[in-house]
Symmetry: D2
Subunit: 247 residues, 4 copies
């Protein structure tokens, strides 16, 4: 593990290419907006996107990634299962972290890690969102105000069909009357996963300093930290028996 985690920000990068309205918000793509923000927090960041060969997630890229940040939305089904399985293996067996953003809740990699439908309620109606910190001790909440306000965002509402999080950090309030568990963590194998709700493509959410602060904290938290040894498989002789045999 390097002193500072090495981040790869992955983006579907279709909305920005297909819609002038979205391009106006993120002229260089959502990935570059997030990457620029994370670099201000001192992180080493590269980017990758769907239409690159192997979606930009070759073995080599993954081997040099401590935490993968994932933004996808409209074409989750275009992500090859081979790449999904490679990313899954790198997380679960290799300890790479994953920060899944917004509609990444229905990405193949997130769903495969969760084992549920990951479905939820949603509405595009310029709701105001208030993200309240419910676990102020968590490193992902370090240095943040008690409430982050986004003047307009897509609404996500409960029931959010994910396994009960290991840790619940943020809960969102929306103008229209809904609530949402909008920042939560899970561990899968050797990897750590952080899901963070905000960031619909039509809003300038990833230019918000607090939002970037959360994602940067999430990357630092999800990075592997010198994992202990893991032995599995057929152990023909137990340690107590081996001890007797060697005595």
């Amino acid at each position: 593990m390097s002193a500072l985690p090495r981040i790869t920000v992955w983006n579907e990068f279709r909305h920005e290419n297909e819609s002038e309205e979205i391009r106006a918000v993120y002229p260089d793509g959502i990935h570059n907006a997030i990457a620029a923000g994370l670099r201000k927090h001192g992180l080493e960041v590269q980017t990758a996107w769907l239409d690159q060969p192997e979606h930009g997630l070759t073995d080599e890229v993954l081997a040099n990634t401590d935490v993968l940040v994932w933004w996808g939305h409209k074409v989750h089904h275009e992500v090859d299962w081979e790449v999904v399985n490679r990313v899954h293996k790198r997380i679960v067996e290799g300890g790479m972290g994953l920060v899944a953003l917004h509609s990444g809740h229905m990405s193949r990699i997130f769903m495969k890690l969760m084992g549920t439908t990951c479905d939820l309620k949603w509405r595009e109606a310029d709701d105001r969102e208030r993200l309240w910190v419910v676990d102020p001790t968590h490193p992902i909440a370090a240095g943040l105000p008690e409430c982050i306000v986004l003047e307009a965002e897509e609404m996500y509402g409960e029931h959010f069909d994910v396994p009960a999080p290991d840790e619940l950090i943020f809960v969102s309030w929306f103008t229209g009357g809904e609530v949402f568990r909008s920042g939560a963590t899970w561990k899968r194998g050797l990897g750590r996963i952080f899901y963070f709700r905000p960031g619909h493509e039509s809003y300038p959410t990833y230019y918000n300093d607090d939002i970037i602060h959360v994602i940067a904290n999430g990357c630092k938290w999800a990075a592997p930290n010198g994992l202990g040894s893991v032995v599995r498989g057929n152990i023909k002789v137990g340690p107590e028996v081996a001890r007797l045999q060697s005595a």
Copy 2:
């Protein structure tokens, strides 16, 4: 939901057909040994196995199953993904419970629900196993002694690569020096899952009254219980807005 949950015990049913040694232990198959035990606890039980059409798990069978008990070992890969996905949907979206036994930890359905490798250490050496209750308040531990002893069993050892359980109920001690989280629960969508370690095919474990008691408790716990309503998808008008509009 019926007053008493309707159980389907599923078995791979290959060891018993292919090996005289195993058949001597379970002449009618593991499924029938478990089913007979559960019936003594008043449960309504049917059985199904791999080599039936659709592995015996048709839509109709699943629609009439509150809890599915799963025993599989050597040919997990022969279980059709179509059936796995059907069972998964019935659990996550329909609320059916799952009790996964022993080597069912690497069944396709359990792995799909967990999102990890579900791998572990193992050894066939007639270890004595002591299953200690670490959560005496749990319904699955109701009526049991503090420790269940199995004179000989296959050893399973940590690290067991599953998500941190929602509830940890049993921890096993083995003669050879290992420990194992041998009884644990998770929720996935509307369904409840209980994993219980004991039951290697070469040992008469499923004739042990305490072991059957645990499985019966697990079935009662995993049964759906009049689930609340769940609404997902596009909610075009939030309840607070609807309220203003109707005022």
Copy 3:
């Protein structure tokens, strides 16, 4: 354990005696409103209150109580520590359940069980409250709609200083912009605890059918269920050694 849990509803019963306004809402006291509601769900219910000898919580009363429902607010400090310790022992060592309501979050018994300040934000301003179910599989959510609406209530807001719940069942939305983890469970020793937020004395909340439904579900969930045996203290001879000695 009786087939149906035996409930004792405890009330501070001061607001109703001292304020005409509150008496107008609960002429027979909050305890009797709750008790009447729970009886409609088939529960066996008695009541007790602060100004009775031993606060109505004698050894005999507790010995015949499966679940204690607690409503207190303005004079938590008048509850004798001797009674608090007796109730604590009955929960932790005897397996009695506790359903703590509303401002019971700062009762001595709840704070002693939690180990934290149990502090929170609050406001009396007739906020509308929406309680969303975030765990539809939980027995406490059985048979409920996805959202319970209370037209006017006191607001409670995060950060709520309690240990991370074992299970989070309800999250509240308030008109003023706050959220709150308003229904949650914890286990302590052999006892189960359910905290449920609603019920300020100046609102008719305990006449709401859904609210009573939740409390009734909570009582059923918190009741002891045939606990396994628990052995503690000095075990001079381990089971493995005893086995060798007797061989």
Copy 4:
């Protein structure tokens, strides 16, 4: 928060003064053995003990302590409640970490944080202990082997009456046949707590490199990390109302 957490190791320091046998193991006291080990991990460490004024835990000492390591055993009842309450407040409201060792499970401060009896089984019979890592992703397990072996230790067995841990990191195996959840974490208010089982006064456990490694990891994990803001109490105007008023 300083870059490296400032540790105070607290010891009852009576066994070493009263028993020649124990003094032979820890001639400078258990606290100095632990402190020396932690300093090798680069931590800034001071010590304190029971018979100092205010048990060595003055306001000033606590204000300059990021993590308190606690070893106590035979005279838990001699620790003044005033000091216990001061430490509790510094943890829950100030974010100081606590690493409770061995028989510290029944110290007043640990019991007050847990809310349970914290009781367990025990035996002094030179059992061999194997501590298995069950969460290799946890920072407290970083850099450790999968199993730490102590040739002789006091046995602690289940049921251990503590709230279900937020995270379970180690499970112990003992020669005599018992298991124990021997390394676990909880959060209370703004503070983080790590309980770690080994270290009976008659064994040289705190000279074991792996054991010190775990305690050093525990101190780093339990240190406060730039906590977010926490607002509690009467919020007379909600943020949504304030927004309307200022518009």
